[in-house]
């Protein structure tokens, strides 16, 4: 499987990463090489095999739906790039 620059441009957009025109080629080459390696999976017949997402076959534990955290807004926002009156600021989304 090989990817061209246009495919990488689309992936980069989905991943929300800005990639310059000159870097697209490099990523296309590197990702294609990784995909070539990954394509070894094609040789395996997995008919009838169940997926494994947890090596111990555990399912996610549920907890009671109760409040366990105290309000730490100020501490948690201390490392935010931009806040105002307890809100995170981002560029205007709605005109």
């Amino acid at each position: 499987m090989s990817l061209d620059s246009d495919a990488v441009k689309n992936i980069a957009h989905l991943a929300r990463i800005a990639v310059s025109e000159e870097d697209l080629q490099t990523y296309a080459k590197d990702l294609s090489n990784i995909l070539d390696m990954v394509d070894q999976m094609n040789a395996v017949d997995v008919a009838g095999v169940e997926r494994l997402s947890n090596a111990l076959d555990q399912t996610q534990r549920l907890r009671a739906d109760v409040v366990t955290e105290s309000n730490q807004r100020d501490e948690l926002q201390a490392c935010a790039p931009q806040t105002e009156q307890g809100l995170f600021l981002v560029p205007r989304v709605i005109e």
């Binding site: 992936i11 991943a15 990463i17 990784i34 995909l35 169940e50 997926r51 790039p81």
Partner: protein
């Protein structure tokens, strides 16, 4: 003997006997960091002042009969992937260069509660993605045995710091080999327990179904001591195992006579460098001399570990790392034109090349039209790989083999080709996919560079694994060797 020539266990005994103080230990190891870390670059952030205060507090507890136990007052360092309250936590990335964690990871809490004194946060591959510590935003770490070689990765700083005995023990994490491979390259003991044994809460996530915390130390006995304090159920980690922790320390010393050690034939093929093969074969003879039986085993799908891993891990990483958006914490680009521009430029500036490559690989594997062919297929083969191990463990108690296919390689030698770099973890990745506990212990030297032996146990068999390593270390002294410059 100087403090750095002693093990964590010996230092613990010296403290208990009143032969030294926690303050004296902290001062000694701080002095070693100051003398040597300019070259090695193992620390991203030092916490020496806090460490001295914590050491004094430990000494006061001990003086008043209130010691917290065998780890109280012993110095160590944390991999900079563990959130530490009030201390910079970078995960080796520019993205988190300004991140002061508002809370402690469970591992951090537990080692604090045991009284351990943290001297700093260790360097690592960015977001734990790498096998050489060369992807760190904070510069490469050097191998203490040879400064032109890599220390391995991703926990390269933690491994090199113990390798040079700048500190007696460190924490690490292992997603595909990130404890075992650098332990092998730095000539030390490293253990990754069963998936879910140590809490992932506050450990910055890379691939959540594979990530597991563990320990680097000078011996299996030391690793047992520290892993004991780190292990246990944590309700804040949804995949934490609700099961009592075995006593890892008191079982050390049991005979391994009659135990069966499996050697996967796939680990001894032509790709294995001769010095590593020879060292592993010698180590197996030592186990035989201890009364263990050895038999060949087959892991028919293990060769697919690397391809499967490079779908599963990037897919999980692409989801986990979507949190770095320039809004709530971490780096943010200047003057964003709109929200999409904010995300895209923040992430372009904050992440290094390898992280971007893996996010894009994962995004692709999860994208519409490719999800079945990549992600689901990889998860199915993951089951085959896991089941191969489970089947082998019906016949053997432990599995042994090389940790790495070769000796530590040169700085810059493998940075041009990601796939070549990925193949460094060919023997370690399957263990993560199967969620098994694994170790690397020193088992030889070649051209002044250490060689690691990998041992893999059944699920939850950390005690048995550590005991086997300990028995080996009673018969050998590879783990006692120090690089000449750091003796």
């Amino acid at each position: 003997m100087e403090f750095h020539q002693q093990t964590l266990t010996e230092l613990s005994a010296a403290l208990a006997a009143g032969e030294t103080t926690s303050r004296a230990l902290a001062e000694h190891f701080i002095a070693r960091f100051k003398a040597f870390d300019g070259d090695l670059n193992t620390l991203v952030t030092e916490t020496f002042e806090q460490a001295l205060a914590d050491a004094d507090a430990a000494d006061q507890r001990r003086a008043s009969g209130q010691s917290l136990g065998p780890l109280d007052g012993l110095p160590f360092a944390h991999k900079d992937i563990f959130c530490t309250k009030g201390v910079k936590t970078t995960c080796g990335s520019k993205m988190l260069d300004n991140f002061i964690s508002p809370y402690d990871a469970t591992v951090v809490e537990k080692l604090k509660a045991a009284g351990m004194v943290c001297l700093g946060k260790t360097n690592m591959d960015e977001f734990a993605m790498g096998s050489s510590n060369e992807t760190s935003y904070f510069g490469e770490v050097k191998n203490p045995w040879n400064h032109s070689k890599v220390p391995g990765g991703s926990s390269g700083g933690s491994a090199a710091a113990v390798g040079a005995r700048l500190v007696p023990a460190t924490t690490g994490t292992d997603t595909g080999g990130s404890i075992r491979q650098p332990a092998a390259f730095c000539g030390i003991t490293g253990i990754k327990p069963t998936y879910g044994r140590v809490s992932r809460y506050g450990m910055i996530a890379f691939a959540s179904s594979l990530d597991q915390a563990g320990v680097f130390a000078a011996s299996a006995e030391d690793a047992a001591l520290m892993l004991q304090a780190m292990s246990g159920f944590d309700e804040r980690d949804s995949t934490s195992i609700e099961r009592p922790v075995d006593d890892l320390v008191s079982g050390l010393g049991e005979s391994i006579e009659g135990k069966t050690i499996g050697l996967p034939k796939q680990f001894f093929d032509d790709g294995l460098e001769v010095p590593v093969r020879n060292a592993v074969n010698k180590a197996i003879k030592v186990f035989k001399s201890l009364g263990a039986e050895v038999k060949g085993i087959d892991l028919p799908n293990i060769g697919l570990s690397v391809p499967v891993y490079y779908v599963v891990a990037p897919a999980e990483a692409s989801a986990n790392l979507s949190r770095f958006d320039g809004v709530r914490y971490g780096h943010r680009c200047d003057n964003p034109a709109d929200l999409t521009d904010l995300y895209k430029r923040t992430r372009a500036e904050g992440f290094g090349d390898e992280v971007k490559r893996r996010i894009m690989m994962g995004t692709y594997a999860l994208s519409s039209g490719y999800y079945d062919a990549y992600y689901i297929k990889a998860q199915k083969i993951r089951r085959l790989i896991r089941d191969d191990f489970l089947k082998a463990f019906e016949e053997v108690d432990l599995i042994a083999g090389p940790t790495t296919p070769g000796l530590p390689f040169g700085l810059g030698e493998q940075t041009d080709d990601p796939v070549t770099m990925y193949l460094n973890d060919i023997f370690t990745i399957g263990v993560n996919l199967a969620g098994l506990p694994g170790m690397s212990i020193p088992a030889g030297m070649e051209a002044g560079l250490p060689i690691g032996l990998q041992l893999v146990g059944k699920h939850f068999a950390e005690a048995e694994l550590l005991n086997a390593a300990h028995q080996y270390q009673q018969k050998t002294d590879w783990h006692k060797q120090l690089p000449a410059a750091y003796q």
